[in-house]
């Protein structure tokens, strides 16, 4: 156990950087464990965050290969690339891996774990050992999920949503379903503990002068995500335990025969499920809000609007769960339709703020910037189709078709993949002290961008023509094949772009190009420290007078002008 002491910093205003004393405790220079034991016992948020990112990216590639198999099967109407049972297992696991084991953990377990303490000027997360426990629960949960493939009867095959009564013991016997439930209980607790850590760190470990409204937007988004995790995941964990009891302990919570209600599962699941997709989206919105200002050389436009829009999105998202259940005939349609339509408003505010950030800026198109702009394009269309789905009469003929599949892939791919890679390329220099090749990054981006549209645009059309989702085969005489073939070609283009990413990671490691502390001339606090940051993150801190402490320190001649005519009053307050 080591105490951490914040050093005295004599830097004031525009004086040149000179640290006179460093009262950094020497206790943490002891020879701690090394090698594998170091990894097993580390409670450093940077090590844990890195472990999360590597594990989740590996699972991302595994789930991606599953997707390629699915697309191969669908290239012809009655293909036998895999059997019906294997197909059902593959899409269940593809969805489960992507949503439960990649998109969320990469964002809140990986990037947020690494970056949030740095952005608020803290030495570590609030509860370091709990943080480590989160990772071990996530790793073992992922292993448990993959164990589904080796048990008799195969992995779970009831879709990532596991609707009752299909997920009951009668309809889905075998250990695969139980393994799936257990894996999600582990990863669910992992997420809950991370949520606690995020909220605790952001509330309690900010550096002096970093008020709530001076936090970077990424940190704000992670705070809101943390609260959403605490709202949503306990509901999932409870529902999973109930499902397990139904399967094994003779309860009848979700089965009609015993007086239960199948639709209760859907209500419980989607009360988790809809906030879950915003848990997946908000961190990535935060990444984009970090990248765009840096490469436009301007501050975030409409900071407070962004904060309140994020809160509005999160609040509304908790009230719209039954828009996944419009076709049950058992939910209050106008309530959920109105709230779903309303989410478009704060999302639109965010979009206009992102555009406003770029407006009148000096845009440089590095790889993170390209990925962020790619996100804007992808999410724009995904969001518009989401508004369409919010109308029950439209949902009636698009629900459970490839239209919905295209919609959620657009929004999820746009956020978790495009914005996620923007974050990876943006923060990689901070984490490793070296740059990823920008040239290979551009190849990665353009191939992925093109592949993305080629894959998912035909899926909208074939969904409108009537092709349902989760089908292992389709009738040959309906004209659906050509759309599926184009979509498969797109999927392989995306696969090639992922290979380029691997090549980039490899080559940048072998032939490093050193990055320095702040290669992007970025704004937020984490860019003030070294790359990679030292143990306990900071040896000295700049004064914190705005949401851009590093920018203020490096560019005292260009402080933020708040609006019209207010510049002078606020500039005076900013210069301490």
């Amino acid at each position: 156990m080591t105490d951490v002491i914040i050093p005295v910093d004599t830097v004031v205003g525009v004086a040149p950087p000179l640290v006179t004393e460093e009262h950094v405790s020497h206790a943490h220079e002891e020879h701690g464990p090394s090698g594998i034991l170091k990894w097993l016992t580390s409670t450093d948020h940077k090590v844990i965050g890195m472990s999360y990112m590597i594990t989740s990216l590996a699972l991302f590639y595994v789930a991606g290969i599953m997707a390629l198999v699915l697309r191969l099967q669908l290239t012809s109407p009655n293909a036998s690339v895999v059997s019906f049972q294997q197909y059902n297992e593959l899409f269940t696991m593809h969805g489960s891996l992507m949503l439960y084991l990649f998109a969320g953990p990469f964002a809140f377990g990986g990037l947020a774990n690494y970056i949030v303490p740095l952005q608020v000027g803290a030495p570590d997360m609030a509860f370091p050992r709990l943080n480590a426990l989160s990772y071990w629960l996530y790793l073992t949960g992922s292993i448990t999920m993959m164990l589904g493939f080796v048990v008799a009867g195969g992995a779970a095959s009831f879709g990532w949503v596991a609707y009752a009564p299909l997920s009951s013991a009668t309809n889905s016997p075998g250990a695969g379903g139980d393994i799936w439930i257990m894996a999600l209980i582990l990863t669910g607790f992992s997420a809950i503990f991370t949520g606690v850590n995020l909220v605790g760190t952001i509330f309690y470990l900010r550096a002096p002068g970093m008020t709530m409204f001076r936090m970077p937007i990424f940190t704000w988004n992670m705070l809101v995500t943390g609260i959403l995790i605490l709202i949503a995941f306990p509901v999932l964990t409870s529902a999973l335990i109930m499902l397990f009891c139904d399967r094994h302990f003779g309860t009848h919570i979700f089965s009609v025969q015993g007086g239960g209600s199948p639709i209760l599962w859907q209500n419980l699941f989607w009360f988790f499920g809809h906030p879950e997709v915003y848990i997946l989206a908000l961190p990535y919105f935060g990444i984009v809000t970090e990248v765009l200002p840096v490469f436009s050389k301007k501050p975030v436009f409409g900071y407070k609007g962004m904060v309140f829009a994020t809160m509005a999105i999160a609040a509304l998202s908790t009230g719209v769960w039954a828009h996944h259940m419009f076709t049950t005939g058992l939910v209050l349609l106008p309530f959920f339709s109105l709230l779903s339509l309303l989410i478009a408003v704060p999302t639109g505010i965010k979009f206009f703020n992102w555009i406003g950030t770029m407006w009148h800026g000096q845009l440089s198109f590095t790889t993170p910037m390209l990925f962020s702009i790619g996100f804007l394009c992808a999410f724009l269309m995904g969001g518009v189709t989401g508004v369409m789905l919010a109308a029950p009469p439209i949902d009636f003929f698009t629900h459970d078709t490839y239209f919905v599949v295209a919609h959620f892939h657009q929004v999820l791919f746009g956020t978790a993949v495009f914005a996620g890679f923007a974050g990876l390329y943006y923060w990689y220099p901070k984490m490793f002290g070296r740059l990823l090749s920008d040239k290979l990054g551009k190849w990665h981006f353009w191939l992925m961008f093109i592949g993305f549209w080629v894959t998912f645009m035909p899926q909208y059309e074939v969904g409108l023509k009537g092709m349902p989702r989760r089908v292992a085969s389709y009738p040959p005489n309906l004209g659906w094949q050509i759309y599926n073939q184009i979509s498969t070609v797109g999927a392989f283009i995306i696969a090639i772009s992922f290979a380029i990413l691997l090549w980039n990671l490899w080559i940048s490691w072998r032939r490093p190009v050193l990055a320095g502390d702040n290669p992007w001339d970025a704004h937020t606090l984490e860019w003030f420290t070294t790359s990679p940051p030292p143990h306990h993150n900071y040896t000295h801190l700049p004064p914190i007078r705005s949401e851009r402490p590093t920018w203020d320190y490096n560019h005292p001649e260009a402080p933020s002008i708040v609006g019209h005519g207010e510049g002078k009053r606020l500039e005076k307050a900013k210069l301490s």
Binding site: F84, N88, Y163, P165, N171, S261, S296, K297, K298, P299, F301, G302, Y303, G305, T327, T328, G329, L333, P334, S337, L338, L341, L342, A344, G348, F351, F352, I355, G356, W359, H360, G361, Q362, L363, F365, L380, V384, T385, V387, M388, A391, P392, P393, F396, F397, H399, L464, K465, P468, R469, V471, A472, S473, E557, A558, I561, V562, G563, H564, G565
Partner: protein, 279 residues
């Protein structure tokens, strides 16, 4: 020391400050209002945007809503995309000069909060109107009871006791009269299935323990394919059916022709368990 140019004390007018963008916003707003007008037109000259026109009156109403939403989406999405592309091309880095570090513009922010709110509220009104049309269930001339099971469909006509059923690719056919109001009640014998007829622009869940009621008013004779949309197990992708709309007279003759060996759900499920298709 200050490298950014001094601003005049009086706040510049919005049109000066945002210039071309402000004009674009104003003209785009009127365009949106005009664009929503086609909902009231017959819709025949507006493109279908990929959806079916709807072979039932309910389907037609849903289709018109789809057209309205698609146009609104096209206009608004197109506008935002234009802004993004404009920013990307117009504000490319031209020099090392640090641009004006503006952080907010109250009027524009209020505008892009209030205007989307109004647009969304108007859209909601249309949603409610269409929803009431699509889900209205006045008593009709014909009743059909649909039961979904793993992995087929049963259509039961209580008026005469006629039963049509089939599993997977046998694709049972529900015969109904065109031009009359048909009351459908839908349930499931086991897991949740989805009763989906693309050309009717309609689907609904078949659930155990609860019955869903909805109406069809089919406009023209024809055969309309249907399929299960909600994952229901191994042969989910093979759970096909169709709806055949005929003249009322033909329908009456068909409905009264009840063979004596109608299978029951139980017998059918036993036959499936013995050796399913596609194994």
């Amino acid at each position: 020391m200050d490298s950014t140019p001094d601003r005049t004390p009086a706040p510049p007018r919005v049109s000066q400050r945002f210039g071309s963008a402000w004009r674009v916003v104003r003209s785009r707003r009127s365009l949106i209002l005009i664009a929503l007008a086609p909902i009231f037109l017959a819709g025949c000259q507006v493109p279908t945007f990929g959806a079916y026109r709807g072979a039932t009156t309910q389907g037609r109403d849903a289709f018109k809503l789809w057209q309205g939403f698609f146009i609104a989406g096209l206009v608004i999405g197109g506008f935002v995309l234009l802004l993004i592309l404009w920013a990307v091309f117009r504000y490319r880095k031209r020099s090392e000069e640090i641009p004006r570090q503006s952080q907010y513009h109250r009027l524009v922010e209020i505008l892009y909060t209030v205007v989307p709110l109004i647009i969304v509220s108007v859209m909601f009104v249309f949603v409610v109107i269409t929803e009431n049309e699509v889900d209205a269930t006045p008593k009709g001339q014909v009743q059909v009871q649909v039961t979904a099971f793993q992995w087929g469909w049963q259509f039961y006509y209580p008026a005469t006791g006629k039963v049509v059923e089939g599993e997977t690719t046998e694709a049972p056919q529900m015969v109904v009269p065109a031009g009359e109001t048909i009351n459908v009640s839908l349930k499931s014998a086991d897991v949740i299935h989805g009763f989906y007829i693309p050309q009717f622009n309609y689907s609904r869940y078949a659930q155990p323990g609860t019955v869903n009621h909805f109406n069809f008013n089919i406009l023209h004779n024809g055969v309309y394919r249907g399929q299960c949309t909600q994952l229901c197990g191994l042969y989910h992708s093979l759970m096909l059916f169709s709806v055949k709309a005929v003249n009322p007279a033909q329908f009456a003759a068909w409905e009264h022709n009840v063979p004596s060996n109608n299978a029951t759900i139980g017998q059918l499920k036993a036959r499936i368990k013995a050796g399913g298709p596609g194994a």
